[in-house]
């Protein structure tokens, strides 16, 4: 990322503190701005507050489910790229992909993804 460009703000919603932390470290290291949220409700509040360019949200979280959060955010920002993440395997990756896309996610990432995978997707979204 070039210094003179305003960094892209990414909202990371995940109930797992280690994931929040590691994604923050990685994305900040790669020149993105990161805000994090611990669950769906928090995530939606942060979304309203910061209006991020990209949202990365876990699908299964306590309290507020990822799918409904995505749906709500999609209502407010129809063009914003939303990356759905899930480590869940209920019904298989294809089923997860289907559900997330139905809720309005632009892309899906199956956990555990790798750095290159994530950065590749982000780069593609930036280009788009």
């Amino acid at each position: 990322m070039k210094e003179d460009v305003v960094p892209i703000l990414i909202l990371v919603i995940d109930d797992d503190a280690a994931i929040r932390l590691s994604l923050s470290i990685l994305l900040q290291a790669k020149g993105y701005d990161v805000v994090v949220a611990t669950d769906g409700a928090d995530g939606f509040a942060q979304f309203l507050k910061h209006r991020p360019q990209i949202v990365m949200s876990d699908m299964i979280m306590p309290g507020h489910e990822g799918l409904s959060t995505i749906r709500k955010m999609r209502e407010h920002a129809p063009d914003m790229p939303i990356i759905a993440m899930s480590g869940s395997v209920e019904g298989g990756p294809a089923s997860f992909l289907q559900k997330a896309q139905a809720a309005g996610a632009s892309l899906c990432l199956e956990k555990p993804f790798e750095t290159d995978e994530l950065l590749g997707i982000l780069a593609e979204l930036e280009r788009a």
Binding site: D16, S88, D116, E117
Partner: protein
């Protein structure tokens, strides 16, 4: 079994043919003799009568009766019963009418055929003698019985008794002619039975008996039926020659003993019956002696008792032999069914006596003793001989060996397994003289056990994996989440690390990838059956998955997209995704660290009338490839070319199962150094075809 069949079926077939030939020859001989005599009567040949006066002692009526009786026997043998019944009326009527005439009622039977012009015409010219008439009537009755009544034991016994009676009368007449005993030839002062007449009667009765034997009893004996017949005749002749006061009747005992050769005990009773008749007839036929008649009669009565006593003993022996045979048969069958052979080995001659099954099991010649040393050399593999010799040595020393499993060779080279259980044979003093034992052929049992063990091992393996899969399903979410920091931060650290640290971190990264792969494979296993099928566009599904596939393989590998537009198929998105991922991962493994290409394509194969029939999805790499031996095994569960801890060996097995559940097929084409191509063929969806 073979031996029994040889003795039984094959032998009986030959025997049946021979008995049938006997019956037919007897019938033909009787017809020929009677026809010649009838012709002589018709031709009125005075010169013939001068040359062979004997011929004309048989009357034209009798000749006609015998011709008809011979014809009836031929028809019966050939199974033409109706015709036989019609023809049998001729001897029956001639015989009965003649007997009625003897009773004083005048019938024109004497001159029925021809006037008796012979010079030897006696008291009743042209009339058949009473015994001939009786024989003809009896023959008529027998043929009617055979023709009109269906086969039954009672009928056969009746026929046989009548036949024996006819044979006895005819034999007595023949013996009478030879011995010059007038009573044997005819009864009282009445007409005498001629030699041709007696021969015809004898032949027809023998023919009938042969036919009865053919249809009713199987004979074990190799003794031809004519031997007891000849013996009977010879003894009858002797009887008739000898003065009546001698107890010649006892001579019939050899006839009864002939029954020993026959399979059925009741043959002895039949022989006793015929002997009894001949003993009684012989009493009247033999020349007068110098002692009172009552004494001779008592003598012969004792002879009859002796004959029946012998018959009873023969019968009882038959019954006992049958019992023994049956129990032997049971033992043999039991051994054969249980695959157990028994044997005895005597130290004195080192002779091995095996049961039929033992001999058959080891491929030894049945029914004889075998030399122990030769048996060892021929049937036992060299490394097993010591064990068996050890058993024998121990037995010599009075020690009974424990059960021993050994292999033995069949003559065809097959190796089989036997378990030997044995005990000692001891003499009266208790010294060991041999071994008695059984050998159980356990080849099939061992084979089944090995198969079962193999199946059990596979089952345990599968159960273990299934349990792992279920466990993995439970913790997968957490595990996947736990791996994220490692998989995302390690590459970041690698970028910043020194060369040495980067290498260490690469190990960490590889371990994380491996963990990720493991979780994925076990998950597939745990949710094998929970899939719903839906309409899928393969090209779209695969294209959507390409991003994830790309992420999972090294950057040095290029993925070439050759996915053309294809019609829909019916299937499970999850399973097909899994299939593609699996094949792509395998392809990446085959390429390794060097640069390479994975081509993923989809085409539509058209069937008849240009309808889309099958959708072909292929994954091709330019990696290491496989030899034919490996490619033949890749779909087996637990087969893996990866190192022990690198793969479960389930991937392609799962893929193969997925393709089966989609009604499709998978084919592999590979050669070492030339890459590998997997072709997945899915049937096109019915609706898609219609569209």
């Amino acid at each position: 079994m073979d031996r029994l069949e040889q003795l039984g079926v094959g032998y009986l077939h030959r025997r049946e043919r021979r008995l049938r030939m006997t019956a037919e020859s007897c019938a033909l001989a009787a017809i020929l003799i009677s026809a010649a005599i009838f012709a002589a009567w018709v031709l009125h040949a005075a010169r013939l009568e001068a040359t062979f006066p004997l011929l004309f002692e048989m009357k034209a009526n009798s000749a006609l009766g015998y011709i008809a009786a011979g014809g009836a026997l031929l028809l019966i043998v050939r199974g033409r019963r109706t015709a036989a019944a019609r023809i049998a009326m001729i001897p029956l009527l001639i015989g009965l009418a003649t007997l009625i005439e003897y009773a004083g009622i005048r019938l024109p039977i004497d001159e029925l055929m021809l006037r008796d012009w012979s010079s030897s015409a006696g008291q009743h010219p042209g009339r058949a003698p009473p015994n001939t008439a009786a024989v003809l009537a009896a023959l008529g009755c027998v043929f009617l019985l055979l023709a009109l009544i269906d086969r039954s034991q009672a009928r056969n016994i009746a026929v046989r008794i009548v036949c024996f009676a006819i044979a006895a009368v005819a034999m007595e007449a023949l013996a009478g002619h030879i011995a010059g005993s007038s009573f044997a030839i005819g009864w009282g002062t009445l007409q005498k039975m001629s030699i041709p007449s007696a021969m015809c009667g004898l032949m027809l009765s023998i023919g009938l008996l042969a036919h009865g034997w053919r249809t009713e009893t199987g004979l074990i004996s190799r003794l031809p039926i004519w031997i007891p017949a000849l013996l009977c005749f010879g003894i009858a002749l002797l009887d008739v020659y000898t003065p009546l006061d001698l107890n010649v009747g006892i001579c019939y005992i050899p006839v009864v003993l002939c029954a020993l050769w026959f399979e059925r005990g009741n043959v002895a009773i039949a022989f006793a019956a015929i002997s009894t008749m001949l003993i009684i007839l012989g009493l009247f036929a033999s020349p007068a002696g110098h002692i009172p008649f009552w004494f001779a009669a008592t003598n012969r009565s004792f002879a009859i008792i002796a004959v029946w006593l012998v018959a009873l003993l023969v019968y009882l022996q038959h019954v006992a032999r049958k019992k023994l045979w049956r129990s032997e048969h049971h033992l043999e069958s039991a051994q054969r069914i249980a695959a157990i052979g028994s044997f005895e080995l005597y130290f004195a001659k080192m002779a091995l006596h095996g049961s039929g099954v033992f001999d058959a099991m080891h491929g030894l010649e049945a029914g004889r003793a075998h030399d122990w040393a030769i048996f060892l050399r021929q049937s036992i593999p060299p490394d097993e001989r010591n064990n068996l010799e050890g058993v024998v040595d121990a037995a010599r020393g009075g020690v009974r060996s424990r059960d021993l499993e050994y292999s033995f060779l069949r003559p065809d080279g097959a190796v089989r397994n036997g378990v030997l259980h044995c005990d000692l044979l001891r003499d009266a003093e208790g010294a060991p003289v041999g071994i008695i034992g059984v050998v159980h052929d356990v080849t099939e049992v061992r084979r089944a056990q090995a198969e079962q063990a193999d199946i059990e091992m596979q089952l345990r393996h599968a159960q273990k994996l299934e349990a792992l899969g279920m466990l993995a399903g439970g913790i997968a979410h957490d595990l996947n989440n736990t791996l994220v920091p490692i998989t995302t931060l390690t590459p970041l650290l690698i970028e910043r690390a020194t060369h040495y640290d980067a290498e260490i971190l690469q190990i960490v990264m590889n371990a994380a990838r491996r963990a990720k792969e493991l979780v994925r494979e076990m998950l597939v296993f745990s949710r094998k059956d929970q899939t719903a099928h839906e309409a899928i566009r393969l090209d779209r599904l695969v294209r959507d998955s390409l991003t994830i596939i790309r992420a999972g393989i090294p950057a040095s590998i290029t993925i070439v997209d050759k996915l053309g537009d294809v019609p829909e198929i019916t299937g499970s998105k999850g399973q097909i995704y899994q299939t593609i991922l699996n094949l792509a991962t395998n392809a990446a493994h085959a390429i390794g660290d060097r640069a390479g290409t994975i081509t993923i394509g989809a085409t539509c194969e058209t069937g008849r009338a240009m309808q889309p029939a099958e959708i072909r999805l292929y994954v091709e790499d330019d990696g290491a490839g496989m030899d034919s031996e490996t490619s033949a095994r890749i779909f087996e569960p637990f087969f893996s070319t990866k190192e022990a801890r690198q793969g479960t060996g389930l991937g392609l097995s799962i893929v193969s199962g997925i393709m089966k559940s989609h009604g499709g097929s998978i084919a592999v084409r590979s050669a070492p150094g030339r890459g590998t191509r997997f072709d997945l063929l899915f049937p096109a969806r019915a609706a898609a075809v219609a569209a």
